[in-house]
Amino acid sequence: MLPVSATTPESAALETEVLLVQRLRDRDEGAMTIFYDKYSAALYGVILRIVKKEEIAEDVLQEAMVKIWHSFPSYDAEKGRLFTWVMNVCRNLAIDKIRSRQYRVGSRTQPIEESAALRQAAEPSFRPEHIGLQEMTNQLNPEQRQIVDLLYFGGFTQSEVAEELNLPLGTVKTRARAAIKVLSKLIR
């Protein structure tokens, strides 16, 4: 039912994703192994960056996979990539985790720069179109990076970032837009 004429890596990747979505929709449990092999590095990297502790990152990833499996019927491929959807599930769970009361004690003051995630090198061969963290963040100025990190890894809204950094909301929006623009240009 799918065309097998893909030649470029992008279309090959897309085809794997379409196949995977189909299998998940069919409640094929074996698909979750493929899911893990395909996405665990990206998901684990982001979760680790948020929760900062390996054992908790592992728990969150497993919890996220359970959630993805159960709420898969609500995933709408028309609205976006599977990657975007699962990444948001993971991010939200990880952010909920760090916002939970027990986690806050002691961990909140740890600066984001000291996280384990930054000390570990990203897998270079993760994807053919993969762009290194260093290369990417070098394109952002420190203010932009700070805002993107608070929004993406801290679960802050733009108003919360404005309050946290004591900046006008307009400035936060402008910087966030500029930063995301830089990021999206890099992948084209």
Partner: protein
């Protein structure tokens, strides 16, 4: 609607970051469907953030793969079992079992040869199943009751803890104040500028004993009672400084001071050769009643 303004409002970024509520999300999706520019912009924002996420990829430890996949399978099995129990509870006993479950039984095998085996589904007879359901429900109710009891105990404990903490900090503050006062008193006793004067009991009260500390430089006077008979109701001890035989009022002793509980700073005295105490009407009198002289001592 001004499309450019909408794009620059930051709402697309918020959509991509997942901070919008359901109504707001639906609205963004509707506008993106209607306006290709918005759609294009939204896609760029999303792919930018996706790329940022991917740039943070960290390959998890190899042994995590099996743990996570196994844990995941265990978790969805547990939920499936629960759902099955709930479903069968609605089905008449004569209906065939397990029709609702169509889950495949192929084991999940990983590339490294690790095999996560599926737990076999229980094949219970309908009557046993009924008992099982009844038992489960009873267990659930019990567990709910247990939770409720534990929760109220927890609440009570937390409230008690709060009370205890408040009491503790109040106590600490009082103790700190008392300690400061003692330190001050100790400084007086240790100071070389203070001369101690023993006031001994008169024949009227031979056991009575008190001490006055007098600083001739600063004129400060402290009194420290060792033993004084309790004054009659409405009476107080009054301290006198004797300067060239002339009595000068040095102040009234507080009841705690007279009982020997603490030392007390009295009125400043410019010059004195002796100190004495008499029992006077509360509030004091201008000149001492000699018949009530209780203790006296020379510098």
């Amino acid at each position: 609607m001004n499309i450019q303004e909408y794009i620059e409002s930051g709402i697309l970024e918020e959509y991509a970051l997942g901070v919008l509520n359901e109504v707001e999300r639906a609205e963004v999706e509707r506008i993106a469907r209607e306006h290709p520019e918005v759609h294009r912009e939204l896609q760029q924002v999303i792919s930018g953030l996706d790329a940022y996420a991917e740039a943070h990829a960290v390959t998890p430890p190899a042994d995590m793969r099996e743990r996570v996949l196994q844990g995941w399978q265990q978790a969805i099995r547990n939920t499936a079992e629960q759902e099955k129990l709930i479903q069968t509870a609605d089905v008449p006993a004569s209906a065939p079992l397990m029709t609702a479950s169509a889950s495949p039984t192929t084991p999940i095998s990983g590339s490294d040869g690790a095999v996560v085996r599926q737990l076999s589904a229980p094949q219970e007879a309908p009557s046993r199943l009924k008992w099982l359901i009844a038992a489960s429900v009873a267990l659930l109710l019990l567990s709910g009751l247990g939770n409720y009891l534990l929760y109220s105990r927890l609440q009570e404990t937390e409230a008690n803890l709060e009370v205890a903490q408040t009491a503790q900090s109040r106590y600490a503050a009082t103790q700190q104040a008392a300690l400061n006062e003692r330190d001050q008193q100790l400084a007086v006793l240790r100071s070389a500028d203070f001369r101690p004067v023993e006031l001994k009991g008169t024949p009227k009260a031979p056991e009575a004993l008190a001490r006055v500390y007098y600083n001739a430089k600063t004129n400060a006077v402290y009194v420290d009672v060792r033993n004084l008979p309790a004054p009659p109701a409405g009476k107080q001890y009054q301290l006198w400084a004797l300067d060239n035989g002339k009595p000068v009022d040095a102040g009234m002793l507080a009841s705690a001071t007279a009982a020997g509980d603490s030392i007390q700073q009295m009125k400043d005295i410019a010059s004195a050769q002796a100190f004495a105490m008499t029992v006077e009407d509360a509030g004091g009198v201008p000149s001492p009643t000699m018949s009530t002289l209780t203790v006296i001592g020379n510098l």
